[in-house]
């Protein structure tokens, strides 16, 4: 029992830290406590993991909303919509609705999986290249059409994102060397962080810098939470239901999991709202809720293949699996299934915790209220530079990241008038999309 409590505290604390700091994703967070995990029993490891992954989602969206710091690529919609709302004095609304949406989706995912256990075989059909390529194609086409730029510009951005992601040496494509120019640092490809900072965050900052003004942020209150929950349950039921289902199902897709679920739910909502002409250009709360709802649902369902089939489908669950191997045990399907209840409890508890401590953390951020936006963004930019360097320096790639960032920054400034989301989507989804298309040919 004592170890379970320790596991919960460790997982939740790491979830908070990794949610706030870009580059410190769930995978890296597990590595931070790696030596500790080697001494824990498997139940505690799973309990720690699910707490970490769940709380991480709550805090990633808060940092993206307030600071425009993308905790991970799943925070992109929160950065796009949530930060726009924050800039327009609706930060409290953004945070409260995102947190409640996440909580509702978490509970939905628990119920969905629990009652669908007899149908688990059908879920496994999601491990299918055809479905994956179809979903990814829909995601890419929709973001190109509905990003708010002219379609050809969005397509160009998407293409550039793909080209940047292609840089490197590709063993999978027969030793294809693309645009490395003989520079060894480029053989492993370009990191997400310098691309995201220079081509997504900087345009947001540059736009806001020109507008000027001060931060208006009132924090969140319990009554605000209750009011937001009421509003959501009456006016956003369709968004919540749709995004929870998308999140829960896309969470099964190997290799991308909740990264894809977030994007799909966001894009679906964006498309529907734009078609109806009700999309709010100054930050759309429904789109934000859709993204945040789906990633929490996806976090839970991405665990299901490991629990019921012994197959890790995300990098972080694969790491957990490997830790169990490290400990000298042979993880069988029966073993994982025996952990189902503890994982379920851990997820439910950490969702409740995430909802409430995210609120407390947010209120601490009220200290920024009234601060000049230019000062605020300058500070955040310096912080991002430090983060970009230090997170890559762990594998001696800090300066590589800084050089890439410096090369891309001018472009980020030049394209500040546009929505660069298609570029980032092109970059993030490139690997799995290209591999899927490449593999499809082998079936015919």
């Amino acid at each position: 029992m004592y170890e379970l409590i320790l596991a919960f505290i460790t997982g939740s604390s790491l979830g908070v830290i990794s949610g706030i700091i870009p580059g410190l994703n769930v995978f890296v967070s597990i590595l931070l406590v790696f030596p500790l995990l080697l001494t824990w029993d498997p139940t505690s490891i799973m309990f720690m993991y699910i707490s970490l992954a769940s709380v991480h989602q709550y805090f990633g969206s808060v940092s993206a909303t307030v600071f425009a710091i993308p905790g991970s690529n799943t925070s992109l919609p929160a950065l796009q919509e949530g930060h726009s709302m924050f800039q327009n004095g609706r930060g409290s609304e953004a945070i409260m609705t995102a947190a409640i949406g996440s909580f509702i989706a978490s509970m939905f995912a628990i119920v969905l999986i629990h009652f669908s256990l007899p149908l688990l075989d059908i879920f496994y059909q999601m491990f299918n290249t055809h479905i994956q390529v179809f979903l990814l194609s829909i995601a890419c086409i929709t973001i190109i059409i509905f990003s708010g730029n002219r379609i050809w510009i969005s397509f160009l951005f998407w293409l550039v994102g793909n080209l940047l992601a292609m840089v490197g040496y590709h063993d999978f494509y027969g030793g294809w060397d693309f645009a490395t120019f003989g520079i060894n640092a480029l053989y492993s490809g370009i990191d997400l962080l310098p691309v995201m900072i220079s081509l997504f965050v900087v345009p947001v900052f540059a736009k806001a810098w020109n507008n000027g003004g001060k931060i208006e942020f009132d924090g969140v209150t319990m009554s605000g939470y209750i009011s937001a929950a009421r509003t959501m349950l009456t006016k956003m039921r369709a968004t919540l239901a749709r995004s929870s289902v998308i999140g829960a199902l896309a969470g099964f897709v190997p290799g991308v999991s909740w990264g894809l679920s977030t994007k799909l739910a966001y894009i679906t909502e964006l498309m529907l709202r734009k078609k109806k002409g009700i999309y709010n250009e100054k930050g759309d709360v429904n789109c934000l809720v859709a993204a945040e709802t789906s990633n929490n649902a996806g976090v839970y369902t991405s665990m299901v293949p490991m629990i019921f089939a012994g197959i890790p489908i995300t990098a972080s669950t694969a790491l957990v699996y490997n830790i169990l191997l490290f400990q000298g045990m042979v993880p069988t399907v029966a073993f994982f299934q025996s952990l189902y209840e503890i994982v379920l409890i851990g997820f439910a508890l950490s969702s409740i915790l995430g909802l409430f401590i995210a609120g407390k953390y947010v209120n601490f951020l009220k200290v920024f209220s009234g601060l000049n936006l230019k000062v605020f963004y300058s500070g955040i930019f310096v912080l991002l530079l430090i983060i970009c360097y230090t997170t890559a320096q762990k594998t001696f790639a800090g300066w590589d990241n800084m050089v890439i960032l410096a090369c891309l920054l001018p472009f980020g400034y030049l394209i500040r008038r546009f929505n660069t989301m298609p570029l980032i989507y092109g970059f993030v989804l490139h690997d799995i999309f290209l591999e899927g298309v490449y593999r499809l040919q082998s079936f015919y």
């Binding site: 496994y124 040496y169 027969g174 060397d177 912080l383 983060i387 320096q393 082998s442």
Partner: protein, 302 residues
């Protein structure tokens, strides 16, 4: 007028975030590997927590004992080669020599090219198995050989793709070879029925494996018995490499690993016990010749 309370809160918050950033990054510098007091470093260019990292932790580091210095984790094999060429520190490690020595598409030398002079010995063998989902109706050796259009999932990376395709297609010319970039993708593919069989190193409790490339794995049928491929009875072989160490010291360490109980225990834990290949008993020059010939044979298949 400056609101002191607010200012202090703000400084505290920024300081906290910066501290967390630095501590997490510095802690992350060597996240899973504690430093030793010795002077032999262990290299790691693959993903932490992966197979090579686990082998470092469970086999190499314990056997290095007091000689162990630290794990040098560098992102990507090309940058690792840069480091190895420029360091004067002693480094020992496992290297995937087969896949990193394949020329690039335009015929240039692979950026991860490892010189033969740095190879100490074959580390272990990596056999391939043909497997299907346990209890899958109609699946098995006969279907693998005679089934029309069976779909076989493989590791599609570099040299391994050519090797797998040759062995499989010379057993069943109608088979469809479906490439995946990692086990996180091909294991779910087998489970879901996207592929009928896997040709891979992994063996899990929900799988039934029936053929192997390793002649020593007598519990399986050897591929050479039903595939006319010249390489149907050959595995791949990761190697031990050493830098700034005398070959005597490095060879002694390799022998210590080969004769240890840690190495077989590692494979046992991974659910795939295997004997050491007979080639580890060859002299170093004979091992290098064997590796070179075998590698050239694989390149010819690509």
């Amino acid at each position: 007028m400056i609101n002191m309370k607010k200012m202090i809160s703000m400084i505290t918050l920024v300081f906290t975030i910066l501290t967390m950033t630095f501590t997490s990054s510095f802690a992350d510098d060597q996240p899973s590997w504690e430093k030793g007091t010795g002077d032999v470093n262990v290299l790691l260019y693959y993903r932490p927590g992966g197979a090579y990292d686990r082998m470092n932790q469970s086999v190499l580091i314990p056997l290095l004992g007091d000689s162990y210095g630290e794990v040098k984790a560098i992102r990507g094999c090309a940058k690792m080669i840069d480091y190895l060429k420029n360091t004067d520190e002693k480094v020992f490690g496992i290297w995937d020599w087969f896949s990193t020595n394949v020329p690039t598409e335009d015929g240039k030398q692979n950026p991860c090219h490892m010189e033969m002079k740095n190879i100490v010995s074959i580390a272990y063998s990596f056999p391939y198995h043909a497997c299907h989902v346990k209890g899958a109706e109609g699946r098995g050796l006969d279907d693998f050989i005679n089934g029309k259009g069976i779909r076989v999932g493989i590791n599609g990376n570099g040299i391994y793709k050519g090797q797998a395709a040759d062995v499989i297609l010379k057993a069943n010319p109608t088979a469809k070879i479906i490439p995946y970039s990692s086990s996180r993708k091909y294991l779910p593919a087998l489970q879901s029925g996207e592929v009928d069989y896997l040709y891979a190193g992994q063996n899990r409790d929900w799988m039934t494996c029936f053929a192997s490339t390793d002649v020593n794995e007598t519990q399986y049928t050897n591929f050479a018995e039903f595939s006319s491929s010249d390489i149907a009875d050959k595995n791949t072989y990761p190697v031990f490499v050493a830098f700034n160490m005398s070959m005597k010291e490095a060879t002694a360490l390799a022998k210590k690993i080969h004769t240890s109980k840690e190495l077989p225990a590692y494979f046992e834990v991974n659910g795939d016990p295997r004997p050491l290949p007979k080639e580890v008993n060859y002299s170093r020059s004979k091992q290098l010749k064997f590796l070179k010939n075998w590698h050239q044979g694989l390149l010819d298949l690509m």
